[in-house]
């Protein structure tokens, strides 16, 4: 029994840690896609967030110290991420460009801008390691709960729990507030929404910028927890996994949370599996591909037909119908 708890103790914190940036980014994706704008650019938004967070961290650490720096970095990265995402909004909402193509452009652009500015600011191809990264802590009081305490609340990050709480907040906002109703109506049936006086384009702008805000925060958290610097390969595919989590979670914030946690758990199992008595004998290649195979099974079998917002991908042209 204690062996089992030990295993949970090593898998769960690492799964949560890995899922956190995905949760943030996927929540951003939910906002954007619920309003009817496909956001392939999540990867680019994460890159932008990681870049800004690392630069801010390097610059401000000497002034702000180790407690404040990471949070300021994440906040600034989120804000810049929101502004950067407005490019996607301008392209797809105002100019009605193809949403997939614009998203791809965002991905390229983010990496280009990031590397170019690093070169300009520091004169090299990648940044130094940051000093003010996020640090793991024990959460007071909760850590003393027997069994659960050590697994969930010891050596964890505040950002992990912020991500989980935010998923519920986003659920509340999208499904229980007038703003959320408008957002969803714009994504389902923009003409109906327009006819009752909702400004469709404005709602979509807000949604896309929110996706940038969350995506930027997700990228920032990834950089501050894992990579510790910014280079060409800092964000390598996490944005696309977050996008998959949006679909996997059926465009629902709690679903996206679940999907992100699932990805985290699957990868954590594949990494740590080698050290677990039961999984030790399975060739590591099976554990490595497990997350992807499980995802396909889950998408085909368990989740059923994923219902996308009806107007996803179609630009709104006022009075065209």
């Amino acid at each position: 029994m204690s062996g089992f708890v030990d295993i949970l103790n090593s898998i769960i914190p690492s799964a949560l840690m890995l899922a956190t940036p995905l949760i943030f980014t996927a929540l951003g994706g939910v906002f954007s896609e619920r309003s009817g704008i496909i956001n392939i650019g999540l990867e680019g938004l994460m890159i932008m967030g990681a870049f800004v967070a690392v630069v801010i961290n390097l610059e401000l650490y000497p002034i702000l110290g180790s407690t404040l720096t990471p949070w300021v970095s994440i906040l600034v990265a989120a804000v810049i991420g929101g502004l950067f995402a407005s490019l996607h909004a301008v392209a797809t909402v105002t100019f009605r460009a193809d949403q997939v193509v614009s998203g791809v452009a965002i991905n390229f652009l983010a990496l280009g801008i990031g590397l170019f500015l690093i070169k300009q600011i520091y004169g090299k191809g990648q940044t130094d390691m940051i000093d003010g990264g996020l640090r793991s802590t024990d959460i007071p009081i909760l850590e003393h709960i027997p069994v659960i305490g050590p697994i969930f609340f010891e050596g964890t990050y505040y950002t992990n729990w912020l991500a989980v709480i935010l998923a519920f907040v986003v659920w509340y906002v999208i499904f229980k507030t007038p703003f959320g109703l408008r957002l969803r109506s714009v994504g389902e049936h923009p003409f109906a929404a327009d006819s009752v006086g909702i400004n469709v384009n404005r709602m979509r702008y807000i949604a896309v910028m929110l996706s940038g805000f969350f995506g930027g925060a997700g990228g920032a958290i990834f950089a501050l927890t894992f990579a510790g610097n910014f280079s060409q390969g800092t964000i390598s595919g996490q944005g696309f996994i977050a996008l998959a989590a949006v679909v996997f979670g059926k465009w629902h914030p709690i679903g996206a949370l679940g999907a992100a946690l699932f990805f985290g758990l699957a990868q954590s199992l594949s990494v740590i599996g080698g050290g677990i008595p039961l999984l030790e004998d399975i060739p590591s290649v099976y554990l490595q591909i497990a997350p992807y195979v499980l995802t396909i099974f889950a998408l085909v079998g368990l989740v059923g037909r994923a219902e996308a917002p009806k107007s996803l991908g179609t630009p709104f042209v006022k009075g065209s119908r």
Binding site: P13, S14, S66, S102, L109, K124, S236, I272
Partner: protein
């Protein structure tokens, strides 16, 4: 139409930004008080995306070239220089450009340039090329490789001496013959000091995913491993973040990372301490200077595979962290280094050779 215009604008912006990266504005320094050596040749390097200040391979190569320039009193860009590639597609055009500028010897830095070097070399049989870190074909191409297994053996010795728990770890990038060389050397080094020490060997299957690197490191440290050697590039950053996080929470914690390719002391710095025990350093600068010297002497090793190791200073072990890398460890490492150089110890390069090596120890 509007859509199209916008996309074009975006693409243009991107192109402008990327091409702006390409210009490098190093201005040459003041007057020199020496005469250029007439025997000197015009030598250049083509970097990969890292550029000449990546604190790794490319930088080391550039430092080697600069040292050559100073030794022979040459002018930068006149007799030696570099071209930086900002994406994979630029390797060939950069190599061709330097060839057209009458460079006599051109280095391609990193295995990624292998195809480009081979193509350009076959088109320009009169120019000499050298590929660093991989083997290329062609009579006018020299291949520069390193005996990573020797250096890995020595850091393995250091890891074994530093470990208190009797468990050490190895995190590799992609499970491939090159990285297996690091693994085999390291395990052999550890076992040579104490065969009872366990070595936990895992691969991240990526050279960039710091998330995976960190998860592996976490599970290793959780299972009482106290020294981890990484040969995983960017994924290895995750090993550093995990070790530093543990150290930041408990400054007495006995966790160590061994760096790779260059001295990764700076990466290990946390508060007032440092988790980098040592690093296995590949001296690309030494190799670059050596190949240039040979070429000047008329012995350009075209078609040959050069292997730099401990004996010629192409591989070394960093001793920057004086607190952790104690004199005792340093002197032991030196002993083993001599044994390798004398040929008393034949360091294994593959898992099969490692098996034989370990069974001989018992």
């Amino acid at each position: 139409m509007k859509k199209l215009n916008l996309l074009l604008t975006m693409l243009l912006t991107l192109t402008v930004i990327l091409s702006a990266c390409g210009t490098n504005g190093d201005s040459s320094e003041g007057q020199k008080d020496c005469e250029p050596d007439s025997s000197a040749i015009k030598a250049g390097i083509v970097t990969d995306e890292g550029g000449v200040d990546d604190k790794s391979f490319n930088q080391s190569a550039w430092e080697g070239l600069k040292a050559y320039g100073e030794e022979y009193c040459l002018d930068k860009d006149e007799m030696y220089g570099y071209a930086q590639s900002n994406q994979d597609s630029e390797y060939e055009s950069n190599l061709t450009r330097l060839t057209q500028q009458d460079y006599e010897l051109i280095f391609g830095i990193g295995f990624k340039l292998k195809d480009a070097v081979q193509t350009v070399a076959s088109q320009n049989p009169d120019t000499k090329y050298a590929l660093v870190d991989d083997v290329a074909e062609g009579d006018n191409v020299a291949s520069v490789t390193f005996k990573e297994h020797q250096g890995s053996f020595l850091v393995g010795v250091a890891a074994a001496l530093k470990s208190e728990t009797g468990k050490v770890g190895f995190v590799g990038g992609i499970d491939s013959p090159l990285i297996n060389k690091f693994e085999a050397g390291y395990v052999a080094g550890v076992k040579s000091v104490d065969p009872s020490i366990e070595v936990d060997v895992r691969y991240a299957e990526s050279f960039s995913d710091a998330g995976k690197g960190r998860q592996i490191a976490k599970s290793m440290y959780d299972s009482n491993v106290d020294v981890i050697y990484h040969a995983a590039g960017g994924a290895g950053n995750g090993v550093f973040t995990e070790a530093k996080d543990i150290k930041a929470g408990d400054s007495e914690a006995n966790v160590w990372v061994i760096g790779v390719d260059r001295d990764q002391y700076e990466e290990g710095s946390v508060d007032d301490s440092n988790v980098t025990l040592t690093s296995m350093v590949k001296r690309v600068d030494v190799a670059v200077q050596d190949v240039i010297k040979r070429t000047i002497e008329g012995n350009f090793p075209g078609g040959e595979v050069l292997e730099y190791g401990l004996a010629d200073g192409g591989i070394s072990v960093a001793d920057t962290n004086e607190e952790a890398y104690t004199d005792e460890i340093a002197s032991k490492v030196k002993e083993w280094k001599e044994k390798i150089q004398n040929g008393d110890v034949e360091v294994p390069q593959t898992r099969e050779e490692l098996e034989g090596f370990v069974s001989n120890l018992e």
